[in-house]
Amino acid sequence: MTLVAEPRFDLDDTLPHQAHPQLVQVAAHSSRLSVVGTGERVLHPKPSGRPDPTAHLSAADLEALGRELDALRQQVLDSRGARDAAYIRKTIAAQRYIELGSRAVLLFSLFPPAWILGTAGLTLSKILDNMEIGHNVLHGQWDWMRDPKIHSTTWEWDFVSPAAQWQDTHNVTHHTYTNVLEKDSDLGYGLFRVDPDQPWTLGSLAQPFWSLLNALFFEWGIASYDLQLHSIINGEMPKDEAKRRWEAFRGKIIKKLGKEYVLWPLLSGPSALTTMAANATSSILRNLWANGVILCGHFPYGVDTFAPDSIENETRGQWYVRQMLGSGNISGPWIVHFLSGNLSHQIEHHLFPDLPSNRYYEIAPQVRDICRRYGLHYVTGSYPKQVASAWAKIIVLALPNKEEGRSRASIVAEAAGEAMSARVAKFKARRAAKRAR
């Protein structure tokens, strides 16, 4: 009998290992695959009449800038290797050990020093899990290692939003349409007005309050946003998709709440209640920190937004410019970068969302230099400064834009009056209908 086995050893020995990059002309419709534009630049002022923030750049500038950033990306790709792999593995190991240690300490959380130590450890563990590890693994930053356990298609995190749902809204919508009005819903999450070009309503007045609530319960805010709860409620989403999303979400909640508020407290015995309190506290502390980091990314003063039609036929160069102008960094010592998941390098992250996060710090000076040479701002500042700036914007934009010949107060008063009379009219109509019956 003749047996033909599967191909066996030494397969590699016939494969060339050094790729020989050879660029081919892209025949794609999506012009973001290329830095070469097809025609003259068309400027897109914003609906309010504010200018296109990229107006000073010619088509040639955009192409040159695109090539420079492509080269920078290639420079990182060429040197990506064992050092980077060791970095993410060490970070994951550290997070796992911190979580294990903290949960063990919390078994005795009735004893106050244990509660404090355990809660602090758990907060740190959640921050690392969500930011430097989860966010970045789910971006595919570590897919190149071909480790199926550290991969964007298999990773799950200690965050109620199921990884796949978060990837939809974050990686696809937000990173593709960064800061484009009406297209990037991260621009205020559909709840907040964070740009003068977004419409003001009477409800905007309450946004500082909602924003505070969102900061405290950020994990749940993001989860309902990723679930697209509003389109489920108002029936926009097809029934079967809504069901699929809801089931994934419910499964995640049961697992997570079961772990934190049932299983670990049960194991803690007499320390059950204090362990629950530790879990809740660490979640809220993580929420506050993460929410602050996210606010710093796109909301502080100085960060630009773009007109809805500005991305038609966008080249990769234009897309790069939009990422740089539409993002803001956080300056600070190493620990700020580490604990923010290197989202303190939001500009670098938005340029290259798939490069390993430990490299953003290294390329930041070159990115900053490119910004300087092409006359683009590079928004950065300390964590407290940038958080304050974002909050100031949320508070100021709770009020309507100033209009010629009208004060903000009179616009608010008029809107309130209109709302009141609309309500009265509705009430009267209902009463009339009742009487008619």
Partner: protein, 363 residues
Amino acid sequence: MSLAVRPARRPMSLRDRAWRVADALAKPLLPPGTLDLISPLRPGADLAGRVERIRLETPDAATLIIHPGASWAGHTPGQYVRVGVEIDGVRHWRTYSLTSLVDSPDGRIAITVKAIPGGLVSNHLVHEIKPGALIHLDDAAGDFVMTTPRPRKVLFITGGSGITPVMGMLRNHLHELPDVVLVHSAPTARDVIFAGDLAALSATGRIRLVTRHTDSDGMLSFADIPAIVPDWAERETWVCGPGGMLDAAQTFYDAAGLAGALHLERFRPHLIAAGDGGLLSFTTAGRTLDGDGATPILETAEASGMLMPSGCRMGICFKCVLPLTEGAVRDLRTGEITYAAPGDGVAIQTCVSAPAGDCQIAH
């Protein structure tokens, strides 16, 4: 009896049971991978092994003695195992023959690897890897094994590293085989893997060894076999070596009407030459498309009406990632080529990758 050489599964020790309990507890209580950090070789962990020793067989071949994880289910002599190693941070899988005793008292297994010029993984395993390194393993597989009942007369014909599965059989089965002839070819005397072991077996008369140094003696032709092994036609025959040798063996045995006595191990070198475009096969959908070298795979598939996962369409969101199970693709942004050998399942971004040769995609 082939069962006789398969070790009985290790009885579960108290420690194994403790790990099972820890595993069951960890699942709902701890993030995935926590126990892997503490004990990657424990029962219940994904199959892995720790390299304990490296024994150089020739200047460019080595045997790696590996402590396999508790989930290792044993092997049959002649089989191979897929080995995953991290080189420059990237995991690569290759297949090597097992050359150890199936029931070695310390439970260790061994693979023997020949480093071939330009071979990334083989050179790493022979020259770079250090004792203590963790490697990933698959279950042993392959049907290039001894037949049952054991044949009275056996002929092995091997070339180069083709000796490795045969050595696995000799070490485990020789006591059951009364009459063995081994015809082995290697370029020079210093290239003969296991030269010492083979010489010892030959000196004690346990096997008849015919070694051919092809650099000086020329390539073995099957036409010479009747002269070298007059009773070849009475022998159950196993052949392992380069493709040309296997093809010649097949032709020779077919012509003699003895194909039934021939066992081949094809190490089919997979030549993937990067070109522009190629056939795109989607294995789940059962579709084959003509992919051109300048259009993303995603667009080619969608244009033919296939439903594909997609997102940003510019290579940043990783929603379109699918496993390339075989073939080569070119990244349209950088020109970089990614290769996948069968079984690799390399995840590629279909929105920025175009075929650079025939490709198989699991979708």
